[in-house]
Symmetry: C2
Subunit: 158 residues, 2 copies
DNA sequence: CGATATTAGTTGACGGCGCAATGACCTCGG
DNA sequence: CCGAGGTCATTGCGCCGTCAACTAATATCG
């Protein structure tokens, strides 16, 4: 199956390249699954839910347009609609109509949402620290950031 | 919200730690989504489907127990049952009963499955190379492997 | 100004996946 | 040899997410 001779032939991954790719694939799958489990068990939250609470808590006035939320969480508009609906039913978020664009909707963090985030953040951060941060040297930490940025840029510009 | 004073207080992520974590989170999400799109568009495959074909193609006799397949793909038994059913309906895989354990099932790659893999692999590999491998220095490649291993070990041993 | 294209958000249909329960089978200690 | 407990694969159920279609509002351009 491997053939380096022709001009349009496939440039297969070398052993070390494949090792890196699979290590990334497997470790991130495990990491996300583990974090999801931790959040579900300790706080009855999804990583998605948590992400939404965080983004809103960081936004000016604790509110964001649905579209912005979709962009920030790398999700789709419909995904955000449903996630915000769930969060709204749980009381963590409230929908506020947009003044300057009558099509628009803002999701706004409620007091209960802030409290929920405050209650779940320590456990989540602890998990991220244990499973990821503590496994890295300072140099690796920087390189991970750099790698992530480059991959994001590459994909964005395609 | 931040408070370093007490004994049981939360050890928040520093700026660089958070940057690394978010870079990893976002870049891998984008990467997986982009690879899924590429496979779907060019080969009408999921990354999961592709992974199953690869694992079977690497196994002795092109067959694996359902349990082994679940372990290798970091999925659940039920997930594998459904994925194999889909692959079977597409003609890429055949179920073969297990000789030495009458509970057991083997998933076996068919000729059509091998052909499907051969047809889709080049495009997939090209995408992985463009989006990930080419963005890395040789050193980063090695560190990514190392980081992935450590994260996997940490989570496995919990 | 008015027609057309674009954008925001929602919804219905659909698919993938995990959990828990199930039935068949294996294993091992007494 | 038998029964308790574990394992294998499957399935029903429900959740979550995407795609495509839709409505409403805005932007653009002749």
């Amino acid at each position: 199956m491997r053939d380096e001779s022709g001009s349009g032939e496939t440039d297969w991954l070398s052993g070390t390249e494949q090792a890196a790719w699979r290590a990334l694939l497997d470790s991130t799958r495990m990491l996300f699954a583990a974090l999801d489990r931790q959040l579900a068990a300790d706080s009855d939250l999804t990583l998605t839910d948590y992400d939404i609470l965080v983004r809103l808590s960081e936004a000016p006035n604790n509110r964001l347009r649905m579209r912005e939320l979709a962009d920030l969480t790398l999700s789709t508009r419909s995904g955000v609609t449903r996630a915000v609906t769930r969060a709204e039913q749980a009381g963590w978020v409230r929908r506020v109509e947009c003044e300057e664009d009558r099509r628009g909707m803002n999701a706004e963090l409620t007091e209960a949402g802030r409290a929920k985030l405050a209650a779940s953040a320590p456990g989540h951060v602890r998990a991220v620290r244990e499973m990821l941060i503590e496994q890295l040297t300072a140099e690796q930490l920087g390189q991970l950031t750099e790698i992530g940025r480059r991959v994001q840029d590459k994909i964005t510009l395609k």
